[in-house]
Symmetry: C2
Subunit: 366 residues, 2 copies
């Protein structure tokens, strides 16, 4: 099977991986029920907590699974049928949180937002003092490229005593994340986003309040039982055989971020996003989010005859460039350009050259 | 963090990986919502079905998760509270099936076996004609190294109209697996066993009867919903972001097995097991299974002063050799030597030289 290896990858995940981290993928995968591997996992926990700006008594858990495994595990382990949750439903990931609540019969209200629009105080106001107990939000709704105001959400949750769960899958490292400042109970991300490690692991940090809720709860699912993960994690282990190779790459990457400086790594992502946004104005696209994350720029062709999905196919097949298509009803209207992963401003140059060429060919038009 | 890379690895998983497959782990991970990746996944499905000797109308599903994710997903998706299951409980994996049934409230009876002992017709006889609807078995109970007689189990299931679920996680490729001959409804394995790919993916083949049951059922868990996996699989996709890199390695390995010949790959595993077993007799161990799989040999030191777990630590730290320790109450009594993965008879030589040296040092004694 022929899978192209030399594409420039602007997808929102799996993202482009550095040579240093990729190389580790070819190393032998060690047997993991050993003190060496336990020490590595304890270091992973400490560094993830540090980068999430978590309280000292928080815990980290690494699940072998997609980011959705964390969305699912958190919802079913932290909450019960006695809770009442608010869910920000601004795109397909917000709606996924609603679907998860439905599977577990957890009462919830979806705060529906128009596509591309940020959450406002007016959206939250009707739900103050209404007996809600928890709040689920994809801080960056990756499907539409809308970043929510976490300080506003945090203040609302504090005022109303809500347990705050933050899906930071595509926001972590690109945007500001602070469990302490927000008083957040759960924040999670995935290996294949800005961490720029292959997909297969999703990881969360849990406040002591979230840990207490988990220990008092009876999870719906055996595999995603966070009690077992927390208990095994005390000795740096996982209940079942994990994606050990990816956990070793995560360790290398977390240490790389520590060495290079968290702020510098974040600044680099932001520089690439700013460069892209400073240059996209002269092309016949418009940005379809009124609140951008540094992780991604969502764009729509100005000319309705230009299909976003066809643009994705043409760039992939004729220019060796991957942009991120959208699914469902947005497929022909919206595509996304990611700024996370091992990218450089020179990669932006290549994408703009391709846009220029598509303009010259009349495939892209005003 | 220092993880040793040069050990000879006789663990039952993650196992030793060939250079050809390891190397792919360093390749860029491609964006996967593409026709190329869909074609790769369709090929994975076809080859896995072929090697499981599955009927034409069977389907394969690849989950991002541990082998336990498949045990869990199959149990909750194929069965309901209206079923009555028989579970062969001969070790920790059999007991795990029971725990999974308990989480989902699926009525079940555990057939408890003494450690190291095979299932006999007398063990099954009391359950004939008693209204059971399904049968769960780890065909090789990896924790104790006991292989069950699948032809006997298959005949019992046919006679009693039971849906047959076979965990072949550590047996696949080492022992004979035939969905057609057994009339099995589900057979599953993991990437890190005899397939010798890094851990992170577990994969199952489902009969048309199992698929029908899944579509008629309401799974307990969102992430492990096999309906979503089957639907997305029709176009060669997965519902969520998979461990794409590992799926590409699985593709390379399945093609390697096809090229080298399934029977030859199986014969090589068996040759290594036979070589080991022909030479272990002169050392002060006894084999603690009365029905061996070709995947592993479970051993106990004859002298109660010799701790199996200490032997594991000494071989790891002083000889660079990993054998597979046991957990729980077997920790000091039993260890296992695996024969799956990229091993050779020369690797056996190295292990026997280490045993000789341990004898000479008086650490291993009769």
């Amino acid at each position: 099977m022929d899978i192209k290896k030399d594409h420039i990858n602007f997808a929102v995940g799996p993202v482009q991986i550095s040579e240093e981290i990729s190389r580790i993928g070819a190393d032998p995968v060690p047997y993991f029920r050993t003190p060496d591997f336990s020490a590595l996992m304890k270091e992973n926990e400490a560094l993830l907590k540090e980068f999430m700006d978590a309280p000292e008594d928080a815990r980290a858990v690494f699940l072998t699974g997609s980011g959705t495994a964390s969305m699912d595990a958190v919802t079913q382990n932290v909450f019960t049928k006695d809770d009442r949750l608010l869910v920000v439903a601004g795109g397909s990931f917000g709606h996924r949180f609603c679907e998860i609540c439905e599977v577990y019969g957890i009462p919830h209200t979806a705060i529906e937002l128009r596509q591309g629009h940020a959450l406002t105080p007016a959206d939250l106001a009707p739900y103050a003092g209404q007996g809600y107990t928890g709040f689920l939000v994809n801080m960056h709704e990756t499907s539409t490229g809308v970043l929510y105001d976490m300080d506003m959400i945090s203040a609302f949750c504090r005022e109303n005593g809500l347990v705050l769960v933050v899906d930071a899958i595509s926001a972590f490292l690109a945007d500001d994340v602070s469990m302490k400042r927000w008083g957040a109970d759960v924040v999670f991300t995935g290996s294949q986003k800005a961490l720029a490690v292959p997909p297969g692991i999703s990881m969360m940090v849990l406040s002591s309040r979230a840990v207490e809720r988990i220990y008092a709860n009876r999870p719906a699912c055996y595999y995603l039982d966070l009690k077992a993960a927390l208990k095994n994690g005390e000795r740096g282990q996982t209940p079942f055989t994990s994606a050990v190779g990816i956990l070793i790459q995560i360790n290398a990457r977390l240490n790389q971020i520590k060495r290079d400086g968290f702020a510098n790594v974040q600044a680099q992502i932001r520089a690439i996003a700013k460069d892209f946004r400073s240059r996209i104005g002269k092309y016949p696209f418009h940005i379809v989010s009124d609140s951008l994350s540094y992780a991604v720029t969502p764009l729509s062709p100005n000319n309705p005859e230009v299909s976003a999905h066809q643009l994705f196919l043409t760039l992939k097949d004729e220019y060796g460039i991957i942009i991120c298509p959208n699914g469902g009803e947005l497929a022909d209207k919206v595509f996304r350009v990611g700024h996370i992963g091992h990218l450089t401003v020179e990669d932006n140059d290549a994408l703009f050259r391709a846009f220029d060429d598509l303009m010259a060919r009349g495939i892209l038009k005003a």
